[in-house]
Amino acid sequence: MTNIDEGRATIVWLGLVVLTLGSAWLGEGALPAGLTALVVALIVGLKGMLVIRHYMGLGEPGSRLRLAMRMYFFVVPVLILVAASPGG
């Protein structure tokens, strides 16, 4: 699986928690709807990539599995952006 060490795993976990709290702050209506959708989409994509790369260990270049998982966390954020933007 992943070649991550304890220190990096802890840093990734802290990063994921901070990104979650950032999302929650956006839920309080801190930003306009369109900007909220954009930031939320970016956060979802980033969190997904972090888990896929560091926790699931899909870091091998050229791996079809890694490509499929990365595509998922590209397409879903785009769906969020389109659906949650004003007029979406």
């Binding site: 795993a9 979650t20 839920g27 909220t36 769906l79 969020i80």
Partner: protein, 195 residues
């Protein structure tokens, strides 16, 4: 670690865990992808329900469950790192901690559903609330499956089935847990954040 010798023929690159668990993971994520499409569709058709929806929910429970899932995923990584050092006892203990995270998630969900009923958040006549229950109940089922997988891996670790050289089953249980975490990473903002 060379998993290729265990799970893949010569010349074919190995996957983390085993091929079987990836079939399960891709099926799980495909199922959630369809639900995310349904979320987008119903949001388009019934925008008022979805604009007002997140304010009806208990945001604190959503945040707590997200942090618990992420923390549980971190503890699962520690289990894999421990077995790679050939420390089966530590790996078992990290898996138990991971499982406890899953159980805390379920307890928070139970509290949240009870809170919902007390505050009139029921799935009749509101597209957002119906979508909320479909998504969260479905995810909850996958958390239960993940917990059962972790229990199996804990028992196997307890009886010495895993070592630094052979821990494919432990990795598979952990990978499924991460996939369930991935689904929640998307569900949380869809339901609790995006007004």
């Amino acid at each position: 670690m060379d998993l290729a010798a265990n799970v893949a023929p010569a010349g074919v690159s190995a996957v983390p865990g085993n091929r079987g668990i990836w079939v399960g993971i891709l099926c799980e994520l495909s199922e959630f992808a369809l639900m995310f499409l349904a979320w987008a569709w119903f949001r388009h058709v019934h925008p008022d329900d979805f604009h007002a929806g997140p304010a009806m929910l208990n945001l604190g429970s959503g945040i707590a469950n997200t942090v618990v899932m992420l923390t549980s995923g971190y503890l699962a990584v520690r289990a894999v790192l421990a077995i790679r050092r050939d420390d089966a006892i530590a790996a078992r203990n990290w898996l138990i901690a991971t499982l406890l995270g899953g159980l805390v998630f379920l307890l928070i969900k139970a509290f949240e559903f009870r809170w919902n009923v007390e505050h009139g958040v029921v799935g009749t006549g509101n597209s957002f609330v119906a979508m909320y229950y479909y998504l969260t109940f479905n995810h909850l089922v996958h958390v239960v499956w993940g917990c059962l997988g972790l229990i199996w891996a804990i028992l196997r670790a307890q009886f010495g089935a895993y070592s630094a050289a052979d821990h494919e089953g432990l990795e598979a249980a952990v990978l499924y847990w991460h996939a369930t975490d991935l689904a929640w990473i998307v569900i949380f903002p869809l339901l609790y954040v995006l007004h």
